[in-house]
């Protein structure tokens, strides 16, 4: 005869098994977004890197890209996945100068499937290179505004470097999703390429 205590006991054992299993296989899952921004006299460059851990989200994205359902991502499917991830990575990115919004001009993007081309739960990474020519004359004391949101609303690591004379401190902070981070700009110099 089953009793409540039997059910509890089974539940505890099952929980213990799952607990061990989860301990055995668990790791932090989600998005990890990093922005590296350089500000110089005539332009702003940004490198947006978004890593996605292996797991359910990665499985959903890879599976959605596997249009022919063969369990593998061919070049066209990977390209479509990349486009989707680039939009995901840059959709919420807002850069502003002196309060005026700046257009995000994507000049390049890369996708890393971590050498795993299956439509499975392997992790992913996308990198987006953004370059913006200043529409305004940058005056010392203006603020560069950075606002972004990660797909899972996790914090974003933002680094801002300035090519300035005298040299300005580098800014490296964890910014909450949706929060605006302001960096005071110094006397910017042009970047020599």
């Amino acid at each position: 005869m089953r009793t409540w205590s039997d059910a509890v006991r089974r539940g505890l054992v099952l929980g213990a098994v799952l607990g061990f299993a989860s301990v055995a296989h668990a790791h932090q899952a989600g998005f990890h977004k990093r922005l590296t921004i350089t500000a110089s006299k005539y332009e702003i460059e940004a490198l947006v890197v978004m890593d996605m851990d292996a797991g359910e989200r990665a499985l959903l994205l890879r599976s959605a890209a596997d249009v022919d359902h063969d369990g593998r991502l061919d070049d066209a499917e990977a390209a479509a996945l990349k486009d989707r991830l680039v939009r995901m990575a840059t959709r919420a990115l807002e850069l502003s100068l002196g309060g005026a919004p700046l257009p995000n001009t994507v000049v390049g993007s890369k996708l890393s499937l971590r050498e795993d081309f299956r439509a499975a739960d392997g992790g992913l990474s996308v990198a987006v290179h953004v370059r913006i020519r200043h529409p305004l004359e940058v005056v010392e004391g203006m603020s560069l505004g950075v606002k972004d949101t990660a797909p899972d609303f996790s914090a974003i690591h933002v680094e801002v470097f300035q090519s300035a004379e005298p040299s300005e401190p580098a800014s490296s902070v964890e910014v909450k999703s949706g929060a605006k981070h302001l960096v005071r700009l110094g006397r910017l110099l042009p970047v020599v390429r």
Partner: protein, 1070 residues
């Protein structure tokens, strides 16, 4: 049913547990440190919150974030802390209690390093593989002195570098992969083949062991063997070995090389490196905590646009002896998958066997722990070292061969195994060693009132060997790890008094103590510095027995109103000192020093709590200070300062590329009261460590002059357009004190003169100087004269003008010039002691403080002490005491004598064991020429009397703006109280010289150069008494003070190039 159901659940549970237990190996992790509990900790720990950490449950390591280096280097991004994972509990405020004994390591491309623009986690290890931290940046000189060389041998446009620190699960080593990439639009060519590798700063406390002929003695092996071998411009001189390792207290390290895809720097050069293998290392320099290790090389055909090359090293971590880390290095096997999919063997397992044994004590049969055992093969190569465990056991891995074991510790004669043992790969053998039983020496020292006296005990022995060989060839074996024993540096003759050495020196903090001593016959001395008598007694130490001696020391030379002080002191808080705080404090108490400032390298230390804890507060007082240690600009002390307990170095600020005036102002900003801070320039003429050498200050002008050598500091503008901090315009005299008398180094105190006795060494190819001295060419003057060089000071378009400059200038002559210009800078004498062999308070500075100097040091008026220092009421001495008065006024004062006539009273006192032969009175001023004129010379007859000279004499016609000083000289060595400077360390300048020699840079004057190795002989000098004919009000300039923020933000010189960062990322699709 229930039984079956329960069995099923149990099975599920067991499977679940089994699944969890399969992964018993902890993962590797890489992350940015967010809490002090994540730091490593230890004596050499430099990690801070914000740096990056690797850990895999076995080994943990910290890579510094971008910014300036917290170690001895220039840039951030270095590996700064490495230790085994010890599982000690951590605290959010104090951090953790690990055992990091590793200072710093960074990749070197010959004489360039990476100036990082970014440090980031590349792989955090969460997916089960390796954890990786990547440092990226461009090449930059970490020594601007080397720019003339690097500008020739490296490509014109900077290359991009990445350094990946890789930690794999289950591995007890950090793999370091360095990649050089040419992102320039044209190929990067290297005019000659240059080596790539690593610069490592190990720090004192890690004893370097290099398998091969060197063993534990790389210092003399390099000087006497390696540097004498053939070298070429693309085959630098250096020791060829399979690895370097260390022995330390609870942790040890080893570096091995991965094979190069192309040939290594050492391969295919049998003339220069006949023993080199594919994974051999080249060590051109190993000293002063600085170790250069190279194996890879620049590509012969250059690096094409977009091309790259990599090299790999492995840093293993052991538990304290060489054997524990060698076993990891020998078992290391690693492969690299090329782009074409084929495997390349980076590192293969090294064939080796094992030798083990027990060390016991003779007669008692007791097993001995803590004994060092070194293994030497039949070819004379030292291959391994192990430390015996409790139970006396030891074991060590060795390459196949036949070996003998040598055991040594501090208190017994070294011994070797009776026979030898032979091992093949995978086999083991046994060797046991028996050490003699030590004796014990018990000593009690009191003063005349019978009170216990802090004092130093020196145990002197006499060896029987005669001849020219240095004691390290017969008295002890440095290569086998035996401890160094200082000798008297007298030429060994038939007289036993010429063959003396110190078997042991120990301190009695409270006047009594007991020490184990090697059996033998000795003379034991008790001393307490130059104010006290010297006790002496003979003793025979027998194995297993205790001998007791009693001494009474008399305070012969009280100094009412004066304190003795040492303003340059190092402890374990400096990377190049291993002296614990308790030993450091006691070392001063036993030498009779009253006051000291703690001045560790880039570390703010407070010794007063240690003094209080040892109940020495009546004898000794300490204040907080710092030695701001730059790589090339010089070393500067600041005191009294405040301790900032938060940051790991307690308040040190960024010094790299800051001009000296800014550094002085910031030092004052660290002070408890910035207006009272004293800034002291240390050893201003000590090679690359000297401020006056850095700015090429003219001895007779006190101002920068053009350098006479191609190898000089870089004065060109910085990449951001700012003026170089080494530009002559940046030289600053905004300091209060100049350390004229540093330790046992009269060679950097006095201008070098041609010796009267012949020297050994190469003859310079120079003509004799004309009677008027050199004019436009180098020449050799007569014995007794200063060697001078003509330096061209005229600018382009002007007629040629030359200024004479001593070839080897001394700090005292610089100081005389500054005094003649009316600059009231106080000269000090300090020990710069880093350990017991550099005696505390040798020399020291006596200061006229007043009544608070008498009695307990608890009552010392430190404000008065610093005021006395700034006022120049100071005598620098290593023994004799000088009391100089002019018209009744003491040191630092000004007398006004309209008729130019003065009355001088000069009294010189010395303890009987301090020799005084000559006293010189000098007068300087604006008219002094090259040096102050000699007013008078007094010859002192040999005597044991305390007062060696007491004279009152008048002098006339002193010009306005004169100053008077006195000097005291002695001829006999101060042995055994003060030991000779017997083993000078190789300096960074020696390393540059070795490498520069391969490029044709040599020493013009051959054998005529200052000798560092010398006995310590009595010397003292006073600060000046000023003599004016007209009363005048002195101008007092307010020193500049710059407040320093506790967390100064990093201002990068070069910002990352986002385009290059993007290009460097791996992509499966672009």
């Amino acid at each position: 049913m229930r039984g079956a159901t329960n069995s099923a659940w149990a099975l599920v549970l067991a499977v679940g547990v089994g699944a969890a237990c399969q992964r018993t190996q902890p993962p590797a992790r890489a992350f940015k440190i967010g809490s002090r509990t994540e730091l490593i900790g230890g004596k050499r720990a430099l990690g801070e919150v914000g740096d990056y950490k690797l850990s895999n449950g076995l080994v943990q390591a910290i890579v510094q974030d971008v910014g300036f280096s917290r170690g001895f280097g220039a840039f951030g991004g270095s590996l700064i802390d490495v230790d085994l994972v010890r599982g000690n509990p951590g605290s959010p405020t104090t951090g953790t209690t690990g055992n990091d004994y590793f200072t710093e390591m960074f990749p070197a491309f010959f004489l360039q390093a990476i100036e990082p623009s970014k440090v980031a986690v590349l792989q955090d290890g969460s997916e089960g593989g390796a954890a990786i931290i990547r440092v990226s940046g461009q090449g930059a000189n970490f020594l601007s002195l080397t720019k003339p060389i690097t500008s020739v041998v490296l490509p014109e446009r900077p290359l991009d570098y990445t350094c990946d620190y890789v930690l794999e699960p289950g591995k007890q080593y950090v793999k370091i992969v360095v990649t050089l990439t040419n992102t320039q639009p044209q190929p990067a060519n290297f005019p000659i083949t240059i080596p790539f590798g690593f610069v490592t700063l190990l720090g004192e406390g890690q004893r370097l062991f290099v398998p091969g002929q060197a063993g534990f003695d790389m210092r003399f092996h390099l000087e006497e063997s390696v540097y004498k071998r053939a070298a070429a411009i693309d085959a630098l001189p250096g020791e060829v070995t399979s690895m370097w390792t260390t022995e330390g207290d609870g942790v040890s390290y080893a570096l091995v090389a991965g094979r190069s895809l192309d040939k290594s720097y050492l391969e295919n050069k049998p003339t220069y490196y006949p023993t080199a293998k594919a994974d051999s290392l080249l060590i051109p320099i190993a000293s002063s905590s600085f170790l250069g290790t190279f194996w890879a090389k620049s590509p012969t055909d250059g690096v094409p646009k977009g091309g790259s090359l990599s090299f790999t090293g492995y840093l293993a971590v052991g538990s304290g002896d060489v054997a524990s880390v060698q076993k990891i290095a020998y078992e290391l096997k690693d492969t690299f998958v090329r782009p074409n999919g084929r495997e390349f063997l980076l590192k293969d397992r090294t064939p080796h066997g094992w030798i083990s044994g027990i060390v016991r004590e003779a007669k008692t049969g007791r097993a001995l722990a803590g004994v060092s055992v070194v293994l030497k093969d039949e070819q004379g190569n030292f291959q391994s070292q192990a430390t015996t465990q409790p139970g006396g056991q030891w074991s060590a891995p060795v390459p196949p061969g036949k070996y003998r074991a040598f055991a040594s510790d501090r208190t017994r004669s070294a011994a070797s195994s009776e026979g030898t043992a032979e091992v093949a790969d995978g086999q083991s053998a046994r060797l046991d060693v028996t050490l003699e039983e030590p004796g014990e020496l018990q000593v009690v020292v009191v003063d005349k009132q019978g009170r216990p006296l802090p004092s130093k005990i020196s145990v002197e022995g006499v060896y029987s060997h005669t001849g020219a060989e240095p004691p390290r060839r017969f008295l002890y074996d440095l290569k086998a790890g035996e401890r160094y024993r200082v000798s008297d540096l007298d030429p060994d003759g038939a007289e036993p008094s010429t063959r003396r050495y110190l078997e042991r020196v120990f301190f009695l903090a409270q006047g009594s103590g007991l020490k184990a001593i090697r059996p033998g016959q000795y003379t034991v001395y008790a001393s307490r510095g130059p104010e006290y008598s010297l006790g002496q007694a003979k003793v025979t130490i027998e194995a297993g027995k205790t001998s007791t001696l009693y001494f009474t020391l008399e305070h012969l030379l009280p100094t009412p109103g004066w304190v003795s002080a040492d303003f340059h002191v190092h402890s374990v808080k400096s990377v190049d000192s291993d002296m614990e705080l308790t030993d450091r404090v006691v070392s001063f108490a036993v030498e009779g020093v009253d006051f000291l400032t703690a001045t560790d390298h880039n570390y703010v230390t407070d010794l007063q709590p240690t003094i209080d804890a040892l109940s020495l507060s009546d004898w000794l007082r300490a204040d907080v200070g710092l030695e701001l240690t730059s790589l090339e600009m010089g070393h500067f002390n600041g005191f009294p300062l405040q301790v900032n307990p938060g940051p790991v170095q307690h308040g040190v600020f960024k010094w790299f590329l800051s001009p000296p005036g800014d550094l002085f102002a910031q030092l004052r900003g660290l002070g408890k009261d910035p207006s009272k801070v004293v800034v002291q320039v240390n050893h201003p003429r000590d090679t690359v460590l000297g401020y006056f050498n850095a700015f090429n200050i003219g001895t007779y002008s006190g101002a920068p002059i053009p350098p006479s050598s191609l190898v000089a500091l870089d004065t060109s503008p910085l990449p951001n357009g700012e003026q170089s901090p080494y530009h002559p315009d940046r030289f600053s005299l905004d300091f209060e004190a100049l350390e004229v008398f540093n330790g046992k180094r009269p060679d950097v105190m006095f201008n070098y003169r041609v010796p009267t006795s012949p020297l050994e060494g190469p003859e310079p190819n120079l003509p004799a100087c004309p009677a008027t001295g050199p004019t436009t060419q180098d020449c050799l003057p007569a014995p007794g004269e200063v060697i001078e060089r003509p330096v061209k000071v005229s600018k382009a378009g002007e007629a040629d003008r030359y200024q004479l400059q001593p070839a080897f200038p001394g700090a005292q002559d610089d100081w005389f010039t500054l005094l003649a210009q009316g600059r009231k800078i106080t000269a000090t004498g300090n020990s710069d002691s880093h350990g017991a062999s550099a005696e505390a308070g040798l020399p020291r500075t006596y200061l006229e403080v007043g009544a608070s100097a008498d009695g307990s040091m608890r009552a010392l008026d430190t404000d008065g002490l610093y005021a006395a220092l700034k006022a120049g009421k100071a005598v620098a001495t290593n023994g004799p005491l000088i009391d100089l008065r002019v018209n009744g006024e003491g040191l630092g004062r000004t007398v006004v004598v309209p008729d130019g006539r003065i009355e001088v009273k000069l009294v010189v006192r010395a303890a009987p064991w301090v020799d005084v032969t000559k006293v010189v009175l000098r007068r300087g001023g604006k008219d002094q020429g090259k040096a102050p004129a000699v007013l008078d010379t007094f010859t002192v007859a040999p005597t044991q009397a305390l007062v060696r000279l007491d004279v009152t004499k008048s002098y006339a016609n002193l010009p306005d703006g004169s100053f008077v000083i006195a000097e005291v000289f002695g001829e006999k060595s101060l042995w055994p109280v003060y030991t000779p400077y017997e083993v000078p360390s190789l300096q960074i300048s020696d390393a540059v010289g070795v490498i520069g020699g391969a490029f044709g840079f040599g020493n013009t004057f051959g054998k005529y150069q200052p000798q560092q190795q010398q006995q310590v002989k009595p010397y003292a000098f006073t600060n000046p008494i000023w003599v004016n004919r007209v009363a005048r009000q002195g101008l007092v300039a307010t020193p500049r003070v710059t407040p320093v923020s506790a967390s100064e933000p990093w201002r990068p010189r070069m910002i990352p190039d986002v385009t290059k960062l993007f290009q460097s990322l791996h992509a499966d699709l672009e």
